[in-house]
């Protein structure tokens, strides 16, 4: 691992010992802190303002499928070694300090269908980033103001970035998404929505509906 002062890692470990599950400094370019899911919001909130650390810029929020199920499509020359553990996904947060100009990586292990606390109260950038993770991985976020699909059509079934979704599985829909689901629809005289669409994509994701052999 390249040029990160060891004192800083020890300091973070000492200060946030109960939130951090694990610290990884091998085979990576910046230190990785595995944080407990329930302590994530407090950890992020205080590491943002703590003197000497001040990781106040959220570079990126993403996720990866750490332990995919057994029967995944193999595209040949596979490198599909699972990470091991009881969780399915791992959230990744890349933080940058504008004052000290260094980076750390924070990871959170998430089981399938578990909700992750949303960071939109700390950084507004997290809004769309978490929507993208929800769309492509299906990880729901707690207290997210607008959890809907962002990259794919609202009616899409499945989460393509998961390892068990085949890359060429096409889904085609007849008409384009209307304005209603954007929350900008015309309401009738009682102030009710005319289309009946709630615009909330949790209703469409395969966490709640049965997949019908699509």
């Amino acid at each position: 691992m390249i040029d990160f002062p060891k004192e800083k890692i020890d300091r973070i470990k000492a200060r946030y010992g109960d939130s951090i599950e694990e610290v990884v400094t091998e085979k990576t370019d910046v230190p990785i802190f595995f944080v407990r899911k329930d302590k994530l919001l407090d950890f992020m909130g205080s590491i943002r303002t703590e003197e000497g650390l001040e990781y106040n810029f959220l570079s990126d929020v993403t996720a990866y499928d750490d332990n995919p199920p057994a029967n995944i499509p193999d595209y040949g020359l596979g490198s599909l070694k699972a990470g091991g553990g009881s969780h399915r996904f791992c959230m990744v947060y890349q933080l940058f300090s504008l004052k000290f100009l260094d980076r750390i990586r924070v990871k959170v292990r998430v089981k399938e269908e578990e909700q992750v606390p949303s960071l939109t109260v700390l950084w507004k950038a997290a809004n769309w980033l978490e929507r993208e993770v929800f769309d492509l991985y299906g990880i729901p976020f707690k207290d997210h103001p607008n959890l809907r699909r962002i990259m794919l059509d609202d009616r899409w079934v499945g989460h393509p970035q998961r390892k068990d979704y085949p890359i060429k599985k096409y889904q085609r829909f007849p008409g384009s998404a209307t304005l209603e689901h954007l929350g900008l629809e015309e309401l009738d005289s009682n102030g009710q929505s005319q289309s009946g669409r709630t615009g909330h994509a949790l209703a469409n994701s395969d966490l709640n509906v049965k997949q019908e052999g699509k």
Binding site: L152, P166, I167, K168, K169, Y170, R172, F173, S176
Partner: protein, 156 residues
């Protein structure tokens, strides 16, 4: 004129004239989605002027144009939009699929990409390339002009 409506000397000359006029005054509708859109912009600008071929008036409204140039990848979210816009164009209309992505999906054979714009609309000319150079686009437009000049269905 013959009673059964078969083309006669007068009508063939008229047909040729109308086809010549249509071919030399195409009003392009640039439907640029991705990288091919930049090469289309290069074709329409000063160095490789497409206006030399009559396609001077670039109209961004389907109601006012007759040649749609689909430059870029068409995804499944964009397909219905493309179909609606194509249906809004008036006859006679032609479609050029510029680049590999709009011809056949290109290098993106993935879950969200339509494998060619001809999944939703009929295409007249396919221009290969990723992206095609402006000379290629001009060649495609000239082939379309040849196709229009051979068009016999004008009077029906």
């Amino acid at each position: 004129m013959p009673k059964d409506g078969a083309p006669d000397v007068l009508t063939t000359r008229l047909e040729d004239f109308v086809n010549w006029a249509r071919a030399n005054s195409l009003w392009p509708y640039p439907f640029g989605t991705s990288c091919c859109g930049i090469e289309m912009m290069a074709t329409l600008s000063a160095d490789y002027d497409l206006a030399r071929f009559g396609a001077e008036v670039v109209r961004f409204s389907p109601r006012q144009s007759d040649m749609m140039i689909i430059a870029g990848t068409i995804t499944e979210k964009m397909g219905p939009v493309l179909k609606t816009l194509y249906e809004q164009m008036h006859d006679p209309k032609w479609v050029i699929a510029m680049g590999a992505c709009s011809s056949s999906g290109g290098i993106f054979d993935t879950y969200s990409v339509m494998q060619g714009a001809d999944e939703v609309i009929p295409v007249d000319i396919y221009i290969p390339g990723c992206p095609p150079s402006p000379e290629g686009v001009i060649h495609g437009v000239m082939r379309l002009q040849e196709k229009i000049r051979k068009n016999k269905a004008m009077l029906t």
